[in-house]
Symmetry: C2
Subunit: 196 residues, 2 copies
DNA sequence: GAAGACATGTAATTTGTTACATGATTTT
DNA sequence: AAAATCATGTAACAAATTACATGTCTTC
């Protein structure tokens, strides 16, 4: 007899959270994905294969409900007949809050780059250098994007037009990217010095 | 007709890589897990459920082979009758090298902490503060461990007793943890300032 | 002889992506 | 009228963990 403890699916909380950002705006699955792409993308994403089944499940649990899209906003959008919009219910809000109070699970993450660097002794140093240079370039590109988002957001936060929390997550992205850039640069010189 | 492009399983390369670190030492599944726990743990881990089936698959593909454990080393260990030890073959070495030459895939990673912080407006600021303080503590503990590993390793690298590459991955861990600590501290003061 | 480390393995489940099918609406 | 975007959804696959079962060997 096997006793399997089910780990809770976190996708549902991500959806509940996005829907609760502005409760006056019902959102479709597509809207939720777009919102995530513009905000939580670098630390949380959902694919269609996860999103749509979870939306159905949340409706069954009465944590969200199907509503008419708000016509006042986005006049010329949201006219697609296929569109289904959802709003969070009080049950959903309670569930979201309870989750927010619990300690966050830590997600270990894999880095294929570091795995390849770790086994670097099996190939020419030029290979590791190439991998790190490639990552350095991606990080530098990403940093420019993050920094422009951060400066826009900081202005809105200063004017009290946006809560602080989005800015905090952007800051996290910036600091981690900067650390990675710093590591790439240091590692490149260490490998080059080691070759001689 | 569905055409599914199979993404390659990376577990096999992690195993091939570990077995190639010292080809004179055949290792068991247990040894491989131990080695990973002491080296790649923070950017790459494997569970038994992945490891053992992959070992069988690698044997079938003749990328590794079952060998007698090396009795010279670890005299008083490795006597367990159940123990099966593996060594990498030339086929396996070729496969490892080919993978090392390819560009590394980037793994997006999830952070439940950042997701909770992002939705911080729905709870009292004290909740977000508690989450961040808890993470700060974990990071500080982890940093101490990483730093002692790095200083040990740096000595061995300087004496040319160990390749540079392990040190590079430890450095990556240190820089990322430091960035996270830095973010926690900054975020705590931003939230506290924002409350007033 | 108990505890703890060593050692292998599997079943069930969870989690997530990829690639598609399908069609509406908007923009060029 | 073509292209791009908006929009929902599923089948197949891939990846990974969790919780066991089973047993050996070493140390106290």
């Amino acid at each position: 007899m096997t006793k399997i403890i089910k780990k809770e699916n976190k996708t549902q909380y991500a959806i509940l959270g996005i829907l609760s950002l502005d409760t006056s705006k019902p959102m479709s699955g597509y809207d939720i994905r777009k919102t995530m792409a513009n905000s939580t993308q670098y630390f949380w994403q959902e694919s269609n294969g996860q999103l749509y089944p979870t939306l159905s499940k949340l409706v069954l649990n009465k944590e969200i409900k199907i509503t008419q899209p708000n016509k006042d906003s986005n006049k010329n959008l949201a006219n697609n007949k296929n569109k289904i919009t959802y709003a969070i219910t009080n049950t959903g809000k309670k569930k979201l809050t309870q989750w927010l109070l619990k300690e966050a699970d830590y997600y270990t993450h894999r880095s294929e780059l570091l795995l390849k660097v770790f086994f670097g002794q099996h190939v020419d140093p030029a290979v590791s250098i190439k991998h790190i240079q490639s990552r350095l370039k991606s990080c530098q590109d990403q940093l420019i994007i993050f920094e422009s988002i951060a400066s826009e957001t900081a202005k809105l936060v200063a004017k009290k037009k946006q809560p602080l929390y989005f800015l905090l997550t952007v800051n996290a992205g910036i600091k981690l990217i900067q650390a990675e850039i710093n590591w790439c640069e240091e590692s490149l010189s260490l490998i080059k010095a080691n070759k001689k």
